[in-house]
Symmetry: C2
């Protein structure tokens, strides 16, 4: 573990004219984010957004609020916890922003909740943080969690009648964004869907693309969370096997309004571009709904200016920037309310409660916090609308606040029709047997013999190359026992890490 | 989460004659253990052992050491961490004893290592704590970890030439002792064994005993970690299916020299006793080697007296009592050495280093700490030696310090011979097919037809009742990819929780 030096940027909002306001308070904010700018939620990327929010607040009703931000580099490990517990009791912050990484966030939120310090994060998105009754009681999540993203799939499934879903994801064993994303989908769909999971632990799918394709035959819907290049590879292979043209739905999850997993387009400038364009006609992308509000354009422009000044290479505004920006506004609103009720900035629980179940104007539009302190999310489903040029557009939108699905005119219902899992195209043993009943006796024996040999060989090959885990389904809908791995991990999450 | 009141037992060793000694020091020890005496490592069970050690020290070279023990109830959750971080910097202890539970221990060890406070525990036994290079650098484990127990199986496998192992364990999703135990065996055997894992999440195996038995046919060695009643149930069922008499090895792991998982005997006083006795003729138990040292008998007697006085119902001395007792002796030795080299009690790292790679006399015999700060373990393999009376004795012993396996005269080599995995007794499709080649044509067709129908039905039943997960083995010996669940969890352990 590397110990990154503390980077302290103290922004004392002093000297500007304090307007007559009920709110006069100094607020110490400890910001726990990585200094390493390879993270899309690094200090250099997020701090301009926080500063933008501070300036907004300074020009209005909240001008009397003086924020003292202390940025501490915490990467994704245990340094974030150390940054908090190393402080003497009288030096504890009034508010914590971050961490984003689940494993860094979990102990920080536990200790902060214990010390009555509100924690606001545009991260800590995993399912494990959803239980705010005890250890995570003072956590407010100002970006839509993975469960919110998963709602989009649950609503589509309800609308289009999905029964079986194959989840394919890449697990980097570090940040584990895709792992936690798929966990959310799994939790929401497991009760009434037949779900299988395929985990990739390397970036190259080429060597095992056959095994990856095989389970697709038995599922109506394929949902992927992995690198864009891998998605393209999978789509090309599925298309070559005519899996795309048999009423099967393919989804790619694009996380965080960011291209951290690569460019989601079919175009690569290689000799497979045409084939990929044809394959991508059947691929839908689920991503955060992109805002078009004029204020957001200004924010966007200001951010880019800051990045240029700092020499940081940022070409897109992601949800972490937006989430931490909005967090500061929300905190100001809640602190104001709490103080009006006679509380102080040290009443973390009271302030936190005033952040929840609340709607306010964020930088990209209206922000709706649910009763559990998690931001509702709006998501787009993007599909190819011009098969000639291969361009795509939003065909559906899901609005988390009221749980509605809005279907746009461009939507092609044919592409969203599933016809059940038809099973593998290779002829089933029984097909041959029944076909052979009318044949001569010799043929019957030969068929039986070939069948047995094929089974033996298949069994041998299978045993040698795969692990076969058999887990009993419990009786509740014979679904619960499935994918114990994910459940188990999510249970561990609840009481161990994230 | 319940907040248990702090239980402070301050034992100031004042007023007794301080003998001439180089060592005069007050040492503050924070003991983080559960108050709830349903835990076999509760404060009421472990504190008399610590007090016994303190008295031993007070009568010798270490009489000048004054220990101030503060017992804080920490259960198995995050309270242990709070007990540590709530203290002001000048109130931090010089030494921490516990926690035992992995999920409680992980954050405490991280913060304590960061603050240069040695942590000694007879728990924190999971594989995840083995890496002492960073987060767990000041952890010393004074009871044999699960990896030490697993060495016993690795050595037996090497000696008897095992190839395939079935691991059956119960996961309570809380303390997860059996989960972490089996993780250790898995880590040590996975490279050169074909391993399957069967997880039970309920205490009643009766409903799925068939699924549990099935994989036994394909494995030479069955290793179980679960409740004693469940072990008996499994053995009875395996015996009825003649699995015990086909050169297959059965092992039961008895944890902690304790009957917390129940009485390991075949005897229950029910109508299955005779059958169980016959089945248990093929069951071996791996457990900690029990000491017979006279000093241990005295310790044992004193402990019982203390428990009687406190009204605690304890009938056996377990490894936690022994481990924490020995921890205090080890700390005294290491502190003494460190102070002779000019360090103080505040030089946690220096003291810790002097605990590692060291041998000393513990309460139950010689204690050998490995170079990584983990206590080496000695284990017994206990088998039935009198089939008439059904009594059992130690037939083999494994000594962790030198890695040797000692085979006793009572050992019956016949019972330890494996003959490879013979496969399920149900006739394979090919057996019938090849058998049918000499039959009449009509028989051929009938056989083929029946076979197909059976397969179809089996497939239908199988799909309906089980989840089938297929994971690709990676190329390194086609073993690594197996049981990704365990690996994944162990990797998470490394950087998240335990």
């Amino acid at each position: 573990m590397l110990y990154f030096p503390y980077l302290c940027i103290s922004i004392w909002v002093l000297g500007f004219p304090v307007r007559t306001s009920a709110l006069n308070e100094n607020v110490d904010v400890l910001v726990l984010l990585p200094q390493n700018s390879s993270y899309i939620f690094s200090i250099s990327r997020v701090s301009p957004a926080i500063e933008y929010a501070r300036q907004q607040l300074a020009n209005g009703h909240f001008a009397g609020l003086n924020f003292n931000f202390q940025y501490v580099s915490s990467e994704c490990g245990v340094d974030a916890l150390f940054a908090l517990v190393d402080r003497a009791p009288d030096e504890r912050p009034d508010l914590i922003f971050g961490p984003v990484c689940e494993y860094a966030a979990a102990p920080v939120v536990r200790v902060a909740s214990h010390w009555n310090i509100p924690v606001m994060s545009a991260g800590a998105l995993a399912y494990g943080f959803i239980n705010k009754n005890s250890e995570f009681s003072l956590l407010t999540r100002t970006a839509p969690s993975y469960m919110k993203m998963a709602e989009t799939f649950a609503v589509m499934s309800q609308h289009f009648g999905w029964r079986s879903v194959l989840l394919i994801y890449h697990d980097d064993k570090e940040e584990r964004n895709c792992y936690f994303t798929v966990e959310g989908v799994h939790v929401l769909l497991e009760d009434d869907h037949d779900i299988s999971v395929f985990v990739m632990d390397s970036r190259e799918p080429l060597t095992y693309v056959d095994e990856l394709i095989k389970p697709m035959y038995e599922h109506e819907v394929v949902i992927m969370c992995t690198y864009a290049d891998v998605v393209r590879e999978i789509m090309l292979n599925a298309h070559r096997r005519r899996l795309t043209t048999s009423n099967r739905l393919f989804f790619n999850i694009e996380l965080f309004n960011s291209s951290s997993y690569g460019d989601g387009s079919w175009r690569r400038g290689d000799r497979y571009d045409n084939e990929a364009k044809a394959a991508y006609a059947f691929l839908n992308t689920v991503t955060l709904l992109r805002s078009t509000k004029p204020e957001f354009e200004n924010f966007s422009m200001e951010m880019r200016k800051s990045y240029q000044k700092m020499g940081v290479d940022v070409c897109e505004i992601n949800m972490f920037m937006e989430g931490f920006h909005d967090a500061l506004l929300l905190y100001a609103l809640a602190l104001d309310d709490a103080m009006k009720s006679g509380y102080t900035k040290k009443n973390g629980k009271e302030i936190t409660q005033r952040m929840w179940n609340r709607t306010f104007e964020g930088i990209a539009g209206q922000v709706s916090m649910d009763a559990n302190g998690d931001r509702n999310g709006d998501f787009s489903v993007i599909s190819m609308t011009n098969h000639e040029t291969g361009s795509h557009e939003t065909v559906m939108s899901y609005f988390g606040t009221n749980g509605s699905l809005q279907i746009n005119p461009d939507f092609d219902p044919k592409l969203f029709t599933v016809q059940g899992a038809p099973g593998p195209p290779s002829s089933q043993p029984t097909d041959q047997s029944s076909g052979g009943l009318g044949l001569s006796a010799v043929t019957g024996i030969i068929v039986g013999g070939l069948l047995g040999t094929a089974l033996l060989m298949a069994f041998y090959f299978f045993r040698k190359n795969y692990r076969i885990t058999i887990e009993r389904r419990t009786q509740r809908e014979q679904c619960d026992g499935k994918h114990r791995q994910l459940r188990e991990d999510s249970i561990r999450s609840n009481f161990s890490a994230a």
